[in-house]
């Protein structure tokens, strides 16, 4: 085994931002989100990530602004610490060690120095039992503080952070769990418990899902599994409590929130509609429909001007209080599973995979940002749990990125499968993909593999479990009416009724290999002849890969019975084979390297090798636990110059893969990481404006101008009749540009810049000197005239200084006369 030295597995973005409720800062400019082990600070207006608050060693599970200082934020994590950050500067201020994994965090202004945390119940062995505790934060100036003063508040609470809410002025805390609502009054140190029946007579579930307390009145809103919202009042008595129900949601209520003044109640759920209920006038509702995915959390900014919803598709939507979407922060969408292979778009070099239901997402690996979603299914998405929806299951690009092929499928409960093969052409004008051809039901069964020919001819092969593979080619327009070419089936073949599972083209596109269960068939794409068959029983062929560049004569295949085989296509014989359980075999498009992910003893190992020799160039044991099922080679923007043998394979492309827990990982060297860190530090932007080229240009000017203004403000200078002031005062108002534009000019005109001052001083000195000279030698006019123009305030030469009596017009006339050609006079003689 080769020593893997400095190459290591690095987490590479794409983490969840919808895990916990986002928090607005006090001025509503920033939005704080828990994102895996870090806290991200987004600008609410520009959607840019401004800061990364890195420090936690495990999942961040909660965020809350410090009630006594709104520029600081507490974050809690499963690593058992609570950290205090200054989010404006991105600095860690303090770390409080609690010692238990923390699931959520609460604080109230009336409980200074106390944090309320959800931690696993100590005495209970069940993993899903939690308790709410109060932690007294010790006053200490040290960075790392142990917080051991823990007192239990409520014993049986839900781990869902939306299930606990502070009441009016922090007097009580309400918690829902299962079928109980429990209210704890701090003053009385007493809790009331209200229960609902599990099911009412209609068989609808009554389980609580979330709770929110009215900020000004004694009212608790609770959301339920059946879509009802109940408003509880008068709950300070065990018996005389009342509750009223609001019903609009048809599915479980996912999140509830009151606006800061308590005038509105916001609710959301699976329907992905934000409902705005008027408090006390609940029949009046406002809706914001089609937000894209189920609403998981709702947050309201402290001034009530902005709402924000976190959705299940890793998206945060910022919404104005008049129910208009103002910004969308979208992370890498991870549905319940990745159906498509990971593909790199040849044009944008973006990672392409299925995202939102029925969409393809283009995700920039370099910037860790979702570029855009391409709607593949083009159908209204019905937000209802338990409904079969279309999913994009296969995707491939042709070599130039001009064509995109997608397969979408919908498995109905009992009836047959719905399949669509769609081909999209890249439109230069709109810079996006436009649907060209739709093939409904291209195969009778699921499509198991889809592959474009790598050379420039447009040829697509789809292999299906119905035992056929079909070749699709671009056909010229058949009708006189439509002009654009469309795709049609070129060739259909089967092999002994076996189901093909994978297919692949050779690097030059002349050969097609199709794996029919145990047999690999090799076809010529020019004549569609079966050239040869290769087989290496036992085990079905799982993956097929042609070698590239110097190794293009090799064909590699992996089988389900733990075999990795390499065939030589010139001799049609087995070159070598080895026994390993390869889950994924990938070829680097830019070199002859291949990567094989092997599953062994509960974890996945990576081997990088060249097909020509059965010896790994690089191997990495246990890159992650479980099977790696999706990975991709992405070409680098700039080549690396790693010269050691085991680093060389990373020079031209990077290898990204998804762990079974859906984290995007990559392989990186130490040096590269350091460089990346340095560059990301530079990129941190201090302001809320996005870093556009415009901003870089204008922002710099603004800064320097600001400095000048600051410098100039030290002197007190009476306004003088400068041209700018005159212009401002004398031009009619209706032709003036906007005041904001003029303001800076006006202010600047009132200042006398330092450079100007110095110049003027110089000028006066020179003036004095020259006057002296003039006195000294009155007849040497020519010399003094050389100095004089500098003195002249009107700008430009003001005629002959020796002749002050002449007017401007006269000097002009003189000059003209001097220039005239009098040579003709000579001829008169």
């Amino acid at each position: 085994m080769v020593e893997h030295g400095e190459i290591r597995v690095v987490h590479r973005g794409g983490s969840k931002i919808n895990f916990r409720q986002p928090v607005f800062t006090h001025d509503s400019r920033f939005l704080l989100c828990a994102s895996a082990n870090a806290v991200k600070v987004f600008s609410a207006s520009t959607e840019e990530c401004v800061h990364h608050l890195v420090g936690h060693t495990d999942l961040v599970t909660g965020l809350i602004l410090r009630p006594s200082n709104h520029l600081q934020v507490f974050s809690c994590s499963l690593d058992g610490t609570v950290r205090l950050w200054d989010y404006d500067d991105g600095i860690l201020i303090k770390t409080f060690v609690v010692g238990f994994p923390i699931y959520s965090i609460y604080a109230s202004g009336s409980h200074d120095g106390v944090l309320f945390l959800t931690i696993p119940a100590k005495n209970d062995k069940r993993s899903d039992a939690f308790q709410l505790v109060a932690v007294q934060l010790p006053q200490s100036s040290e960075q790392l503080v142990e917080a051991r003063e823990i007192s239990a508040v409520l014993p049986d609470v839900s781990a869902n952070p939306g299930a606990i809410s502070f009441g009016r002025a922090g007097q009580y805390i309400a918690s829902v769990c299962g079928l109980h609502l429990e209210v704890f009054f701090f003053k009385k140190q007493k809790s009331f418990r209200f229960s609902l029946k599990e099911e009412n007579n209609k068989g609808i579930k009554n389980t609580f899902t979330c709770a929110a307390c009215h900020p000004k009145e004694d009212c608790i809103a609770t959301g339920h599994e059946d879509g009802k919202i109940r408003l509880w009042r008068n709950f300070s008595h065990k018996k005389e409590y009342t509750h009223s129900a609001l019903h609009w949601h048809h599915d479980a209520v996912g999140a509830l929130s009151f606006t800061p003044e308590g005038t509105n109640l916001l609710s959301g759920g699976v329907e992905s509609v934000l409902v705005l209920w008027r408090y006390n006038q609940e029949t009046q509702k406002d809706f914001l429909p089609r937000l894209g995915a189920a609403i998981a959390h709702i947050a309201v900014s402290p001034d009530g001007s902005l709402f924000c919803t976190a959705h299940s598709d890793n998206k945060i939507t910022v919404i104005h209080s008049y129910v208009r979407v103002s910004a969308v922060i979208q992370g890498l969408v991870r549905g319940d599973r990745i159906w498509t292979d990971l593909v790199v778009d040849p044009r944008s070099k973006a990672l392409v995979m299925n995202g939102k239901p029925g969409h393809l997402q283009f995700y920039s690996l370099q910037r860790d940002k979702l570029l855009y979603n391409l709607d593949i299914v083009q159908q209204e998405y019905i937000h209802e749990s338990g409904l079969d929806q279309f999913e994009v299951v296969k995707v491939d690009f042709d070599a130039g990125g001009n064509w995109l092929a997608t397969v979408e499928e919908r498995k109905q409960n009992s009836a047959e499968l719905e399949l669509n093969l769609k081909l999209w052409a890249f439109d230069e004008q709109t810079q996006s993909f436009v649907l060209n051809t739709t093939v409904p039901a291209p195969h009778e069964d699921r499509i198991s593999d889809l592959s474009f020919s790598p050379d420039r001819t447009t040829l697509l092969v789809s292999a299906s479990r119905d035992g056929h593979f079909k070749a699709w080619a671009l056909a010229p327009p058949t009708d006189a009416e439509d002009q654009s070419p469309s795709w049609c089936c070129d060739f259909v073949a089967s092999y002994h009724g076996l189901a093909p599972h994978c297919c692949g083209f050779s690097a030059d596109g002349s050969l097609l290999a199709v794996g029919f269960q145990e047999v690999v068939t090799v076809w010529s794409t020019a004549s569609w002849e079966l050239l040869t068959t290769l087989s290496q029983p036992p085990g079905h062929v799982r993956n097929l890969c042609f070698g590239r560049l110097s190794c293009s004569k090799y064909l590699l295949g992996t089988t389900t019975k733990n075999q990795l085989c390499c065939w030589n296509l010139l001799s049609c014989s087995l070159e070598w084979s080895t026994s390993m359980d390869v889950t994924l075999l990938l070829a680097d498009p830019l070199s002859e390297n291949m990567a094989a992910f092997c599953f062994e003893a509960g974890s996945t190992d990576l081997f990088v090798f060249k097909p020509s020799e059965p010896r790994p160039l690089f191997s990495h044991k246990a890159v992650c636990s479980g099977r790696v099922l999706r990975a991709v080679f992405s070409p680098r923007e700039e080549l690396l110059e790693g010269c050691e043998e085991d680093v060389q394979w990373l020079n031209s492309s990077r290898l990204f893969f998804f762990t079974p827990s859906m984290d995007l990982m990559t392989f990186s060297t130490k040096a590269e990481e350091d460089r990346l860190m340095a560059s990301s530090k530079q990129l941190v932007i201090g302001d809320q404006v996005s870093m556009t080229p415009f901003n870089l240009l204008l922002g710099k000017r603004g800064q320097t101008e600001g400095q000048e203004v600051a410098a100039g403000s030290e002197r007190v200078q009476p306004p003088q009749g400068s041209s700018a002031v005159k212009e401002l005062l004398q031009t009619p108002a209706h032709v003036l540009p906007s005041t904001s534009y003029l303001c800076s000019m006006f202010v600047q005109s009132l200042l006398i810049s330092t450079s100007d001052k110095r110049e003027q001083n110089n000028v006066t000195e020179e003036e004095m000197e020259s006057e002296k000279e003039e006195d000294d030698s009155e007849d040497e006019e020519t010399q003094s005239s050389a100095v004089k123009p500098d003195v002249a305030s009107g700008g430009g030469r003001t005629g002959d200084p020796t002749d002050p009596g002449l007017t401007k017009a006269q000097t002009k006339e003189l000059r003209r006369v001097r220039k005239l050609d009098y040579s003709w006079l000579r001829d008169l003689d």
């Binding site: 914001l288 429909p289 089609r290 937000l291 894209g292 939507t317 979407v325 709607d375 083009q378 159908q379 209204e380 019905i382 209802e384 409904l387 079969d388 919908r410 009836a415 047959e416 739709t438 409904p440 056929h468 079909k470 058949t478 009708d479 006189a480 009416e481 089936c489 060739f491 259909v492 073949a493 089967s494 092999y495 002994h496 047999v519 569609w528 079966l530 050239l531 040869t532 068959t533 290769l534 087989s535 290496q536 029983p537 049609c572 014989s573 087995l574």
Partner: protein, 529 residues
Amino acid sequence: MSSFKPTKIPVYPKLGEKVTQETLYWKDYKAPIQIKEFGAITNLDFSPVAPHNFAVTAFTRIHIYGPFSQEPVKTFTKFKDNAYCGRFRSDGQLLVAGCEDTQVRLFDVCGKVALRMFKGHTKAVHVTDFTSDRYQIFTGSDDYTCRLWDIPNSTELLSYQEHTDYIRCGITSKLNSNLFITGSYDHTLKVFDTRTDKSVLSMDHGQPVESLLLYPSEGLLVSAGGRYVKVWDLLKAGEPLVSLKNHHKTVTCLCLSSNGQRLLSGSLDRHVKVYNTTTYKVVHNFDYAASILSLGLAPNDESIVVGMTNGILSIKHRKGSEDSKEGVVQQRRRPSYRVFVKGKNYVPKQDDYLIGKPVKEHLAKYDRQLKKFNVSKALDTALETYTRTRKPEITVAVIKELDRRGKLKNALAGRDEQGLSRLLSFLIGHVVNQRFAPVLITAADMILDIYRSTIGQSPVIDRQLLRLQDLIEREIDYEQDLLEVLGMLDAIFACSLPKKEVPSSNISRQNGLTQGESSTTVPPQIQTS
């Protein structure tokens, strides 16, 4: 956020022939004018001079029709028996015709009585033509001879007896007055030069020759006989160029379109086929009611005239291009047009700030109802009479969309007799349509589930259900038959294709496979669309 996405209505490709430029050109004719003649129309000839009258030889008469008249402008009736091959001279003044009674008559187009009678043939004369110098007549007869006559003296100049069967077609060269070509039932084509006493060229067509045609350049000769149309290169001493076999009965007549780019052939199989003369592919096809004997094309393809065995003359005139233009102009002059474009063509000035108006997207009625989740109403809308009968794909798309939303059962349930009967009649109409079947079968299943308990309450519904059952049973029988046929075809294909051994023996041995397992190709299957 994103707006409502309307229901996708799939566009199904139209069945039938594909629309090309050719079909558009050849379809651009008005409905045919049909004129009944007394007998089979054996020949059609267009006058070379304007107004391009044409002579129709049928039974014992020759009628001359004007380009737009439906009545003959002139009739020659002085034939004692069937007339044949009435042809105009190149100046359009004289007309020659053969006859069953062996005599050849020459008429003045303005006169009535024959100017000259050429006697000498011993059997019916089927071929007559003027030579290009306009003073001689060439004839071919059933007595196996072809002769050349002098018009002024009405004397026989030459006689060739080289054919061994009836001469039924012939043509004179337009460029050389000494050349003419004959085609005979002895399967040969012969080129004669009047300056020699023998044929100069002989070609074997392989079938009795029915018709001949010379290209305007006279380098290529087209002959029709049997089911074949053959093209010969005269400049290469009669080398065969192409043989076309597109008709399934004898080809009787040939014609070139006026620009020489297309060749038309008429046949007893009642079709006229149009060929591209560069690729010799059929580009268009006309169907007629009876077997075609003669075919003529007016200059500039202004009209297509076809004569048939049942004596019907069919004349198709080209649609005037000015007609269609006028229609467009009229449409544009509608008074409401200005109202619609008012302010639309305003060009903003340079500094103007444009404030976009949000485009209100139009949704179909069923989409509006789907947007509000009114599933039953949406289905009702989609089942309205116009949509149901004219655009069944919309109805099916809405049913499919409801099924996707899991609400199809709700939408189908709770219907009264009238509503259910409408639904069932739609199902009966379309459930066997292969494009709609997957969707409609689910819907039919659900209907049966929902309304099972009400069977027997309404005679209307019961009758429709019985019809549906009958229909489905018949469809199942059809499918079974088709599968049987498919199986037979597969067997035939497998036998007919040569068995090819894949060079796999070598590998299989290396891979440990026994020889018996070596594989053979499965023939590529024909995709059933």
